[in-house]
Symmetry: C2
Subunit: 556 residues, 2 copies
């Protein structure tokens, strides 16, 4: 079997100018970055304001398992399939973070014959967006420490600085550090730490801003910490929203690439799906909607995290209504939710599959709560048996759930035609009405409880003393009108990663809150969230290389 | 008077495709990065191996003063002037570091009507080269700490890790830090620190490598620290030279831009001129020599640092002989060397000028020692008086020193025509023969003494106990064959920054040595070298902004 990088390197890419032309773009709408990548103008949505928006299809999944679900692969494959049945589709995805690429992953841009290309560039520095975010984030850090070093006019309490430095790297040794050592010319000694760049609030802001001026406004509202008098300190107080926005002016422009079948794909932004909202940028999705009749986009992790945030945070900030949802599952993963270990997945087990279906069922309920039409996509694996497939089809038939088998890894768009046809039919015949799960004027505590009960199936929430105090402080600051961004394990509907399937009767413990005022949401932490990953014993980097004539080796 | 950014934004840029075409480049030789920047192929020098190399002109200066000399401006202006007199010239410059741009400088890409454009991009993220170096440097750091965290098979002594992390930022609070705190899942606690990226050995390596395979070989030889048994530990031992080279594959390609008068300029690499060699990349200079009949390039600081290293380190690694040198001075700066304070520079002072000429005289001697022809460029300022100008011209005439007044800031290439004509004449009639200052098989100590005595005019050198031990250890390791990279204050010929003009009878104190085995030189520290700058009280960032339609404000 060929590897992803082999398939990618054998694919025939069109010049990006041809892709741009096929989308009807004019000269001023885009700039080339190499011959197969482009930056799109951030003015494009305005220029095409008369054009009707395409239909937005969100791809989500069951709770992820080590078995793999292939959500990105289905997103790319569905885009290709729509083009095969004569629909003009544009894909909108997140940018991969380099840290995990060098660590465990080796690459993250779809798979097989449903990849975005050039996968080597996309997985490495791409067009430099994440580096620009790293720079803006750390410029702010340097400005904060310099402010204190120079006399601390704002009376920032060095023990209450929430703004961390970042690197796009898996580097556990930087999680907890002490800085400013070595005497009076070296700043103020204080505790600090690095997050991975995709966990930066600036990444979330870049993805939720609707224009360059909105970006600057949001940056100015970032709360970097508190004064000795417990007052929030913002970027506006430090007067660097202009410089930080300047550093992001090109990163703010969406990136255009293509898939293995030359379907246009816009890849832009990649915020964490736990402490941030886990979706590609609003700019990317809106631009795709102006350029295609269908936008296929995804959100991180399962529907309990990614889709919930897409629908309650991103769609609200963007002021668009999504039109339909794809819920991706694999028989392998469903069997894991039914209690099978990873080593036992190659064996047929209809009993475990039946038990695991509860996880899918819960996510279906959630999407129905939002009033959205959906199709379930069962992403095929060679080990799936006829009886297992039959069981799923019967299960869906009994519940009047639309389902399609997809085989886009091996067959590209061809393997997603049934799914494409079903989702088009759903959208064209849909009578549903999209609704957010909660109104913004509900209290923060009530919003949290609503998500926990309706989306996770929890019996209740339990607040730590710290969280209680924070809720009061946040409401007092006027932050109560913001939506909630839950940081919860992706592996379970509950806050315990070992409870697969559909746990019941559990309580969600709310440990702590964090204000992301620039991004425009309140992060709610339900457990220890790792915002700086570590490298494994054998990092993927050990296998990476480049030949003397520049060919990439060891991304997979 | 217009500011640099006003002049830059009023200039008419040609599409980079036109610049590439004017150089005879073919489709496979370059890739666009936006409409006014391009990456040139790293295979171009090989492809054009039959073509005769252009003449290489190095621009250097007297010891820099706060009065300003305008070396980059003269470099750009001379390139433009050569084109005006019908010569095909290509400029080769360093990339500015973002840290100082956000801090003090605000911008560094020539000035007035002799700038490289688009100055906004060049001063900000440009084509991402420095970000790629940051990433490669920090990937190595993460790999080192992960190796120790995972059992430390190589027996690396955490107290003897010389490899520091880097950021392209002025951030004093990161100079001395403690990392790895927080328990056994967070790495090993140890002292560490961040340098600015341009101080990374990887930056020096990128600038001294002759091919991608040479780059990988040099990276594999980096010494990151020592074992408990005092043995050097290299990147090769850690097995990540492939991954690091992969991260640098695009950064290794030289960048093509243009000047205010559309003269082609290759901007690539920007190593520090104290702990590294301070020149743009060999790839850039060699590529420029294949594309132009004249290459105008510069080296950091004065001739005692930049030119000495260009001639002893870069020219040796590149295996090319430079053809001529321009020594830049201003009457203002010479008066400072003659004892005038900055506030008194607007007043005529032939007496101080006469005294300050000693500094210029010493650098002229140095260039003569290398056997190279040269022209002195007096870069005009509005406050220069007739008597001062007459004094310099007479001084030069008496010594048979070729001199030209230049006014390229205000007049562009037109202001450098006399200089262009004189340097062309020098090159065409030259009988000199270029020689390195020392042979590589001389001992490290003798090399250091030779530079100190011949280039600086020191009476002798004095070695600290640490330096003595290191010299013995380095020779024992077989590193004695490498050239020397002196880290000395740029402000004085001596190691005391307050001794301007031409100090005499001084001793250079050698404090410490550092092996840059990958770069291929031994760094010799003569004082405290700051490898991470700090921000000033009012960082330039405070003035920076971007308008809603993307126009840059506040770079100057």
């Amino acid at each position: 079997m060929k590897t992803d990088i082999q398939i990618a390197q054998e694919a025939t890419l069109k010049p990006i100018s041809e892709i741009a032309k096929s989308l009807g773009l004019q000269k001023e709408d885009w700039e080339p970055y190499g011959n197969t990548k482009a930056k799109l103008s951030d003015q494009l949505v305005d220029r095409l304001s008369d054009r009707q928006d395409g239909k937005i299809v969100l791809v989500t999944s069951i709770n992820p398992t080590p078995a793999g679900e292939g959500k990105s692969t289905v997103t790319v494959g569905l885009g290709q399939a729509l083009n095969k049945i004569g629909k003009k589709a544009v894909i909108a995805l997140r940018e991969p973070s380099l840290g995990p690429v060098m660590g465990l992953k080796g690459g993250a841009a779809g798979g097989g014959y449903s990849q975005v290309l050039p996968m080597e560039d996309i997985n490495l520095h791409f067009t430099g967006d994440i580096h620009a975010i790293t720079t803006a984030n750390n410029a702010l850090s340097a400005i904060i420490d310099n402010h204190i070093h120079r006399g601390n006019k704002l009376q920032i309490d060095p023990r209450k600085i929430e703004w961390k430095r970042v690197l796009d790297m898996n580097d556990r040794a930087l999680r907890e550090i002490v800085i400013g050592l070595g005497g009076p010319s070296q700043g103020i000694p204080r505790e600090d730490g690095f997050n991975i760049t995709v966990a930066s609030e600036i990444m979330a802001i870049l993805c939720l801003a609707n224009s360059l001026s909105d970006l600057k406004e949001r940056i100015s509202q970032i709360v970097i910490g508190y004064t000795y008098n417990e007052e929030p300190v913002t970027v506006k107080d430090l007067k660097v929203e202009g410089a930080l926005t300047l550093l992001l002016k090109d990163a703010f422009k969406p990136n255009l690439v293509q898939t293995t079948e030359n379907t246009p794909a816009i890849i832009h932004g990649g915020p964490f799906a736990n402490i941030a909202h886990g979706c590609n940028s609003i700019m990317a999705t809106k631009t795709a909607a102006k350029l295609g009749d269908y936008v296929i986009t995804e959100a991180g992790f399962g529907a309990d995290l990614g889709a919930e945030k897409f629908l309650n945070i991103k769609a609200r900030a963007a002021k668009f209504d999504p039109d339909a949802v794809i819920i991706v599952a694999t028989i392998r993963a469903l069997k894991m939710h039914g209690g099978v270990e990873k080593s036992g997945l190659t064996k047929e087990n209809v009993h475990a599959l039946k038990k695991g279906m509860e996880n899918l069922e819960k996510h279906i309920e959630t999407i129905e709560k939002f009033g959205l039409p959906y199709v379930v996509s069962i992403n095929k694996f060679p080990t799936d048996t006829i009886d297992e497939i039959n069981y799923i089809e019967k299960w869906c038939e009994e519940r009047k759930v639309d389902v399609a088998l997809t085989d886009v890894w091996a067959k590209g768009g061809e393997g997603g035609i049934e799914l494409a046809e079903k989702i088009v039919h759903k959208i064209e015949t849909n009578q549903h009405k999209f609704e957010h799960l909660y109104p913004l004027d509900m209290s923060l505590e009530k919003k949290i409880r609503k998500i926990a009960q309706v989306v996770y199936g929890a019996s209740n929430i339990e607040l730590s003393n710290k969280a209680k105090k924070q809720l009061a402080y946040f409401e007092e600051q006027g932050w109560g009108q913001l939506p909630i961004c839950m940081a919860k394990t992706q592996y379970s509907l509950s806050d315990d990663p070992t409870l697969l399937g559909k746990p019941e009767g559990f309580v969600i413990t709310i440990r702590e809150l964090r204000p992301s005022i620039g991004a425009g949401f309140i992060v709610v932490l339900t457990g220890e969230m790792l915002t700086m990953p570590g490298l494994p014993k054998k990092p993927a980097a050990f296998k990476m290389d480049v030949t003397n004539d520049g060919k990439v080796v060891g991304l997979f």
